[in-house]
């Protein structure tokens, strides 16, 4: 049973309680931690030592791709079949600016959305924590701390006891 565990889940009433508990858990040596909250809790990522997310780079990549796609498209089409349009130049950079700008934004925004979902491993309809009895409140008004079973220091009974000690409203083990 133990090797199939996902982790231990503790429920807190407020973000402050969660932050305090998380801090304690870190101090207690737990490293493989996660939290589930109804809204982003400020400072949590800092305590959990999450690395800075790389969505911005994904967005930048998208932007560059978009801009170059747009420019390449417009240059190529005018190169492929050059036509005199109202005496304007064949490669009017100013006229190309609009589509280039739009595609820059389009590709960037889509890249970030897809990148965010990809990095988050979403969509993931079925996930162990959903099995937790009180987890439905994670999207309502409760703040959950989870110690993953992979954590080196994890030991079911001990961890549950530790979490209870941090002021959790409830604790439970989540099967994997």
């Amino acid at each position: 049973m133990a090797e199939e565990l996902y982790g231990a889940l503790a429920e807190f009433r407020s973000p402050e309680d969660l932050l305090a508990a998380t801090r304690k858990a870190r101090e207690a040596g737990y490293r493989d931690l996660d939290a589930f909250t109804p809204f982003p809790v400020e400072g949590l990522d800092h305590i959990l030592r999450f690395p800075r997310p790389t969505i911005s780079f994904v967005g930048l990549g998208g932007a560059i791709t978009g801009a170059s796609t747009a420019l390449a498209m417009q240059f190529f089409t005018n190169y492929d079949y050059p036509l005199n349009v109202g005496g304007r130049p064949i490669y009017p950079i100013s006229a190309f600016a609009v589509v280039t700008f739009e595609l820059t934004i389009l590709f960037s925004a889509l890249a970030m959305l897809i990148g965010m979902l990809w990095q988050n491993g979403l969509p993931r309809l079925s996930y162990p924590v959903f099995d937790a009895g009180r987890f439905h409140r994670a999207s309502k008004d409760r703040f959950f701390l989870c110690v993953r079973a992979h954590d080196a220091k994890f030991e079911a009974g001990e961890t549950l006891a530790f979490l209870s000690g941090t002021g959790a409203l409830s604790v439970e083990l989540v099967p994997g």
């Binding site: 973000p15 109804p38 492929d80 609009v98 739009e102 934004i105 970030m112 959305l113 965010m116 969509p123």
Partner: protein
């Protein structure tokens, strides 16, 4: 388990908000009113379908257009709808970036409004084509013709701009919606709702890691959306300003259009805010303070739009160009002076009431003023299109424009096209951002505790 209400310093709880807002789709509270609204909206949508069938069967000749006024209702309503759409993105994105958290009660339905307004706008450029079945020629694809689109055309820019705008708005709307869909999923008890919200929420579980990436993506998208909004309506203005027609050929057009768009959009947001608030009893979330702020924004954008009017006059007179001055004089006193003065009166006269706080905080007053602005902006678009075209350079080509029955039916039909999905959306997704409201509530409580 009982709600530990004693520890919450303010009247409402996070859980209460979640239940209230997810309850709107899950346990729809206003069935009868919704059915009536839906019936009206569907009738309008049906009218649109009939109009479109007639249009595609017989051609754009069913409209009142001619040479020289070969753009009228279609383009005019396109600009009008797109302008309305802009408020949603502006509210969400701009206010998110500036940390104006009062937006949290408004952004979701404002964004939803944007989506459907852009759809209404988006069908017009297709409908107005002489040969709509060839609309795909506007996209670059390796055709057997070997001919490509013409990228110097503002219309070509337009199709990219609008599609980008629609896509990015949709992405932004959906990104913000995911956590709320998860909240709704977790509240749902019926299997059907569970599966619907379960799939649309993509398995969101509120993980701290996820929130972190999500926040970055959401804020950056917002950062992109703001210039996008500005660019899209600037680009729309180029449909006109790129031509040489007097009354169009002006550098003020891009800002003038963007501000006008925001102005009309905020008016529609106000209308929807007031309506939904009374409809679903959301007075606790969309407060009088929200209306107050909306009123202020409306007033500000209205005054900026007014500046556009003033500058247009200045521009024409300063240029000293005979045709520009003639068009200006014609707007003041010509056959379509009613559109000009109608726009001025509807846009700016009732607006002045918003200088008073009590008016801003009154739902009904705000609703009426906003309705006036919507009408006024509609007249303004009419004025820009028709008065510029019906008398341009050569006296011999001067003509007239009278909208036909099908002009009107198509226009009213698009209102149906807007309302039907909007009404459906009300029943499907939370119309106010749940998690952001909770976050705000939490912060307010924090402040109360500490301050």
């Amino acid at each position: 388990m009982n709600e530990p209400s004693d520890i919450l310093p303010t009247r409402q709880s996070m859980g209460g908000i979640a239940d209230q807002l997810t309850g709107i789709p899950l346990h729809f509270p206003a069935d009868r009113r919704w059915v009536i609204a839906m019936a009206v909206a569907s009738a309008l949508l049906l009218l649109l379908m009939v109009s479109v069938v007639e249009l595609f069967t017989r051609g754009v000749g069913i409209w009142g257009i001619n040479i020289p006024v070969n753009w009228a209702f279609a383009i005019h309503n396109y600009v009008w709808w797109l302008g309305i759409g802009h408020a949603g993105t502006l509210i969400s994105a701009l206010l998110l970036l500036t940390g104006s958290e009062w937006r949290n009660s408004l952004n979701r339905f404002a964004e939803t409004m944007t989506l459907f307004a852009v759809v209404c706008a988006g069908i017009y450029p297709i409908l107005h084509l002489g040969r709509p079945w060839y609309v795909y020629w506007m996209f670059p694809y390796p055709a057997t013709m070997g001919v490509w689109p013409q990228f110097r055309s503002p219309l070509e820019w337009d199709i990219w701009a609008v599609l980008t705008y629609l896509t990015v708005s949709l992405a932004f709307w959906y990104t913000g919606l995911i956590p709320d869909l998860a909240a709704a999923r977790d509240r749902a008890t019926r299997r059907g709702w569970q599966i619907f919200f379960g799939i649309t929420a993509l398995g969101w579980r509120g993980s701290a890691r996820h929130w972190q990436r999500w926040q970055q993506a959401y804020r950056l998208t917002a950062g992109l959306a703001v210039p996008l909004v500005v660019s899209v309506h600037s680009e729309v203005s180029l449909l006109f300003a790129a031509g040489q027609i007097p009354g169009w050929h002006s550098t003020i057009f891009p800002p003038y259009f963007v501000l006008g768009a925001a102005f009309s959009g905020f008016a529609v947001v106000s209308i929807i805010a007031v309506s939904l608030r009374s409809w679903f009893g959301l007075g606790n979330l969309v407060t009088d303070d929200h209306l107050d702020l909306l009123g202020k924004v409306l007033l500000a954008t209205g005054l900026m739009t007014g500046y556009g009017y003033v500058f247009e006059v200045f521009d024409a007179v300063y240029s000293g160009e005979a045709h520009e001055i003639q068009t200006l004089a014609d707007r003041f006193a010509g056959a379509y002076a009613w559109t000009y003065w109608g726009a001025v009166i509807f846009n700016f006269i009732p607006l002045q009431a918003l200088w008073w706080r009590v008016v801003r905080r009154s739902g009904w007053m705000l609703l009426l003023i906003s309705a006036s602005v919507v009408v006024g902006m509609w007249l303004e678009r009419y004025m820009i299109l028709v008065t510029s075209l019906y008398r341009d350079f050569l006296v011999s080509s001067w003509s007239h424009f009278t909208p036909s029955f099908w002009d009107w039916s198509t226009y009213f039909g698009t209102i149906g096209l807007f309302l039907v999905p909007f009404l459906i959306a009300i029943r499907l997704v939370p119309m106010i951002s749940i998690f952001e409201t909770k976050e705000l509530l939490h912060e307010e409580k924090e402040e109360q505790q500490h301050g």
